[in-house]
């Protein structure tokens, strides 16, 4: 935790605090996804327990893309990106700060969304509910750390907002699978989520490390 990282962190938090752009759009969008899934699948009884985990994860995934697209776009104006490239601090600190900030945003959205989710799907948690506090942050971290990295990668392309989804979702599939399986296991209480939590942890460690190592290459790509 160095000074550069802290500066980036505080700056992004302050910008978000003044506008609340990312959180409001994510919250509304994920709420919409939850409603749309309820209409599409008519969740009642035991069936809602089965699909709730998947809906929660997919809603988070779609919603976070809107915030991830903004993560770097606001740095383009006034050539902030070029200024960032000239800063003597390593680019990985900038990446880590952005990941932490977006992780906080998505987590806030998940916490705010949870009550609606329980109401709409009539959820009763049959497994160990406290494990959700482990699974959801691990899955969110996997999503956000890859997402911020690929948002930076797709910055230079013509249609970057489309490209981000196109490259993020395939890479994220294993983590999404683990996240869905773990939350479903917790909601239904029929199986043990430990294996999936380990897998999420492994995925997080591998991809965060590689992102931090390769970020300078992407950031200074000219």
């Amino acid at each position: 935790m160095t000074k550069a990282l802290w500066t980036h962190l505080v700056k992004d938090l302050r910008i978000e605090w003044r506008s609340l752009d990312a959180i409001i759009s994510m919250l509304f969008f994920s709420g919409l996804v939850v409603v749309l899934f309820s209409i599409a699948f008519d969740p009642r009884g035991a069936f809602s327990q089965q699909i709730a985990g998947g809906v929660l994860c997919v809603a988070t995934m779609f919603a976070s893309v809107s915030a991830l697209n903004q993560a770097w776009a606001r740095e383009i104006r006034h050539q902030v990106m070029d200024a960032q490239r000239m800063v003597p601090a390593p680019g990985s600190e900038l990446l880590l700060a952005k990941v932490i900030v977006n992780f906080l945003f998505v987590s806030i959205v998940q916490v705010l969304l949870a009550p609606f989710f329980f109401v709409f799907y009539n959820l009763q948690i049959a497994g160990q509910a406290w494990l959700l506090v482990v699974v959801l942050p691990l899955g969110t971290w996997a999503l956000v750390s890859n997402g911020v990295f690929f948002a930076a990668l797709s910055m230079s392309s013509r249609n970057r907002e489309l490209l981000l989804s196109l490259i993020l979702f395939p890479i994220f599939i294993p983590a999404l699978l683990a996240m869905v399986q773990a939350t479903t296991a917790i909601f239904t209480g029929e199986s043990d989520p430990t294996l999936w939590i380990k897998m999420l942890l492994g995925y997080d460690i591998i991809f965060t490390t590689v992102s931090l190592l390769l970020f300078d290459v992407v950031f200074h790509a000219e």
């Binding site: 490209l163 890479i171 590689v210 790509a221």
Partner: protein
């Protein structure tokens, strides 16, 4: 001499493909359980084994590009062309696998598709490499090669994780349809021979189109370099 060698190679490849077809369709005996439909395996399995090879070639190209791009630009360009060619041929072979598989599954299992471990793995790999090719198309400009190389490494990194996750997924919830793999033992020597000839033939064919694609991409790079030079001097 070089031209003669390449013509010879093309001729041998075509001969191998014809011979492989003859072996698979006329020589190899009919499968006692499945009937004629089992012959699709002589195409399905070699392609499935080979697309891993081409994705591996793509990974080597991506790593090569990133390590040479500042020191030896010409070698980095060659590595980038190799990464692109490997990914394209790999996606092509993967598409053949994903097409022949359901054709067989419809007859043997009665369904086109099931979310079985191998099927899911193959589909996800296909998606990852298609996104790699899309990225190369969308992100124009000089930095595209660097970004594509990074994405190529991420995609290759995902492959073992996808493979593991599918094994865990399906061991916890056994799938309703679980066909015995094609490699659960080929006893008949004529079948084995037909299968081996087809691996050889498809390997030769894949390497041929890989080299052609690689050379085409090198030509593209040279034209782009000349055009950039001309624009600078104009």
């Amino acid at each position: 001499m070089k031209k003669f060698a390449s013509v010879l190679y093309v001729a041998v490849t075509i001969a191998l493909l014809v011979w492989g077809y003859y072996q698979a369709v006329y020589v190899a005996p009919v499968d006692a359980m499945q009937g004629e439909i089992s012959r699709i395996f002589y195409y399905h399995v070699p392609n499935a084994m080979l697309f891993f090879l081409f994705f591996a070639i793509s990974l080597v190209g991506s790593i090569g590009y990133l390590s040479y791009r500042n020191k030896l630009p010409s070698r980095a360009q060659a590595a980038d062309a190799l990464a692109l060619a490997g990914a394209e041929v790999g996606v092509l072979y993967c598409t053949v696998v994903l097409t022949t598989g359901p054709l067989w599954g419809r007859r043997a299992w009665g369904i086109w598709w099931t979310w079985d471990a191998r099927l899911t793995t193959t589909l996800v790999l296909w998606l990852i490499y298609v996104s790699y090719l899309l990225m190369r198309r969308f992100a124009a400009g000089p930095q595209m090669q660097t970004l594509a190389a990074v994405l190529g490494i991420f995609g290759a990194l995902d492959a073992p994780i996808v493979y593991m996750s599918n094994r865990w997924w399906r061991t916890q919830h056994p799938a309703p349809v679980f066909g015995g793999g094609p490699d659960s033992g080929i006893k008949d020597p004529a079948m084995l021979a037909a299968w081996e000839w087809n691996i050889l033939a498809w390997l030769a064919w894949g390497l041929l189109i890989l080299v052609l694609r690689y050379r085409l991409e090198r030509q593209h790079q040279k034209i782009a370099a000349v055009e950039a030079e001309a624009a600078l001097n104009a």
